[in-house]
């Protein structure tokens, strides 16, 4: 979390607390955004998919599963020239 100091500089809530208690300021580690949460929120918006908050956990679980399986596929190296299975014919 960040706030504004009187001088207009951003300071962390942790730094404010440290100033009050006299303890040495310890930089707060920024909370790493959850990649699946981020993807879920952005995709829902981009695809105009209404997601009830109650569904998020279920969707996220399924996204995690998809990415786990995708990693299994991705780690198998294939030549650049490999054709995908469906072949289009004009």
């Amino acid at each position: 979390m960040t706030g504004k100091s009187k001088a207009g500089k951003s300071v962390t809530r942790g730094a404010k607390a440290a100033r009050r208690t006299g303890a040495p300021a310890r930089p707060l580690r920024a909370k790493k955004p959850d990649a699946m949460e981020t993807l879920l929120a952005a995709s829902a918006q981009a695809l105009a998919l209404p997601i009830d908050p109650a569904w998020r956990a279920g969707v996220k679980l399924n996204l995690q599963l998809i990415f786990r399986y995708a990693a299994l596929v991705e780690e198998f190296a294939l030549p650049d020239e490999t054709e995908p299975a469906p072949v289009f014919r004009a």
């Binding site: 695809l47 569904w55 399924n62 998809i66 198998f76 490999t82």
Partner: protein, 468 residues
């Protein structure tokens, strides 16, 4: 006057019924009437039907009897009652595909091609069958219509998504049904209910007039209580259909006349590695089938675990793309378990799908090489016997796995590349389990010959459930 009152059609095979009707020992009308009486008596227990087509079937039966009275030749499926998973179009009815949403769809204007072809061979459609919502299911549990129940134990799953197709046949309501199989939806319920089920080569049987799921994996096929019935139905349904762009322009290759060639001389191996199942029932079934066939070598299907993962990814993507608009407008009308999977599939980056499709090509070419060494491969059809209704997980080896996604553990790597498979039932006590007989593309004849040989030797059998 036909002496039909004493005839009992329960658990008769389609071949027996066709022979009886064809020889004039029973009328098609008497078979149809007995079938509806049976459905009325038993389906409240099984919940396998979502609609019956009684007037239509009775009219059809009368027409068949009239044709016979005129001296027309007997048809191969004369008077055989059958029913179809409710993703097959039936003229005059909306095609539900197991959903609530499709109840609002307009009625189909004509029957699905396979229904037309079975009826052209003398069969009679008697109704539409329950299924997992939009076929994204292995359990047979349907939120809107209730679960189909396993005739061998009504407290257990039928398997899915062709749940009603399996329950109705295993319970002796009809000798034959139609199902669809995208990742295992014919083979898994065949295994759990103890039936013969054919997932043909991708593109062999027309899907015209069926509601799709994942287009590049969607197959349709028959379920029955005997290998001969599967073959008879398959033969009646083969042939090019311009209404299905995937259907191969390939002449019909009848398999029924080849069944008695048996399995002698065929090179048969057991799939090892990924397919080494840790459940006692599956191991016993594979060992028993392998011993009967003299299949004493193992073969490795390379990268099968990755194949299953890639199948999962492509299914999620193609399924999501199919339902995207419905997810936008009617998301609350889906079964939540299906909806959440579809939404996640819609959010998957396309690059992952393309990778999976590239892997699919590589895998196909590697697996096809195996068929230079063997004619058929045996693998479990399901990792366990039928779970209890409502059961969420099962234990396999050291792992506890979700039921819904994992009953198709051993079927997905096979349909991923469209190979023909016959699921054969091994009648264990108290519950049956299936074995997949996998052949090279277009070699349904080999898989069915092996299934028939196993049935002839008593190793494979669709045993009649005690309660029915």
């Amino acid at each position: 006057m036909l002496e039909t009152a004493a005839l009992d059609f329960r658990f008769k095979t389609a071949a027996d019924i066709a022979a009886t009707v064809g020889a004039g020992r029973a009328s098609a009308l008497s078979v149809a009437e007995a079938t509806f009486a049976r459905i009325r008596a038993c389906d409240p227990l099984l919940n396998s039907f979502t609609a019956v087509t009684e007037q239509r079937a009775l009219s059809r039966a009368r027409a068949l009897d009239d044709a016979r009275a005129r001296g027309e030749r007997a048809l191969p499926l004369a008077g055989v009652p059958f029913a179809a998973k409710n993703l097959f179009d039936i003229a005059g009815m909306p095609t539900l595909a197991g959903s609530k949403i499709n109840r609002d769809a307009p009625p189909a204007s004509r029957d699905a091609t396979l229904i037309e072809r079975l009826e052209a061979a003398g069969a009679m459609l008697v109704g539409a069958l329950n299924m997992g919502e939009y076929a994204y299911d292995f359990t047979g549990e349907n939120l809107h219509d209730g679960p189909s129940r396993n005739p061998h134990d009504l407290s257990r799953m039928s398997g899915g998504s062709s749940s009603g197709s399996a329950a109705a046949v295993a319970g002796g309501l009809v000798p034959l049904s139609l199902g669809s199989d995208t990742n295992g939806s014919i083979r898994v319920p065949s295994s759990l209910c103890g039936l013969f089920g054919l997932k043909p080569t991708y593109g062999r049987l027309s899907r015209a007039g069926t509601f799709p799921f994942a287009a590049s994996f969607d197959h349709v096929g028959p379920l029955a209580r005997s290998s001969r019935d599967v073959a008879l139905a398959y033969d009646a349904m083969q042939g090019y259909d311009p209404d299905d762009p995937v259907c191969a322009d390939r002449a019909a290759e009848p398999v029924t006349p080849l069944l008695d060639l048996g399995a002698d001389g065929l090179r048969i191996a057991v799939a090892g590695g990924y397919f080494n199942c840790h459940s006692a029932e599956a191991v016993y079934a594979i060992d028993r089938v392998a011993a009967a066939l003299g299949a004493n070598r193992d073969i490795d299907i390379p990268q099968a675990e990755r194949a299953r993962a890639a199948a999962y990814i492509i299914t999620a993507s193609e399924g999501a793309s199919l339902h995207l608009d419905r997810l936008r407008t009617r998301a609350r009308d889906f079964d939540p378990a299906v909806r959440d999977r579809l939404i996640a599939g819609a959010m998957m980056p396309a690059s992952l799908v393309a990778k999976a499709q590239k892997f699919r090509r590589w895998y196909r070419s590697e697996v096809l090489k195996l068929f230079a060494e063997v004619d058929a491969i045996l693998a479990p059809a399901a990792p366990c016997t039928a779970p209890l209704l409502g059961q969420k997980t099962f234990v396999l080896g050291d792992a506890e796995l979700p039921v819904r996604a994992n009953l198709g553990l051993y079927t997905q790597p096979i349909s991923f590349i469209g190979l023909p498979v016959v699921a054969v039932p091994v009648p264990l006590t108290p519950l049956p389990i299936g074995v997949q007989v996998i052949a090279a593309p277009w070699r349904e004849d080999i898989a069915l010959r092996i299934a028939h040989a196993l049935e002839t030797r008593g190793v494979a059998a669709a045993r009649r459930p005690k309660e029915f």
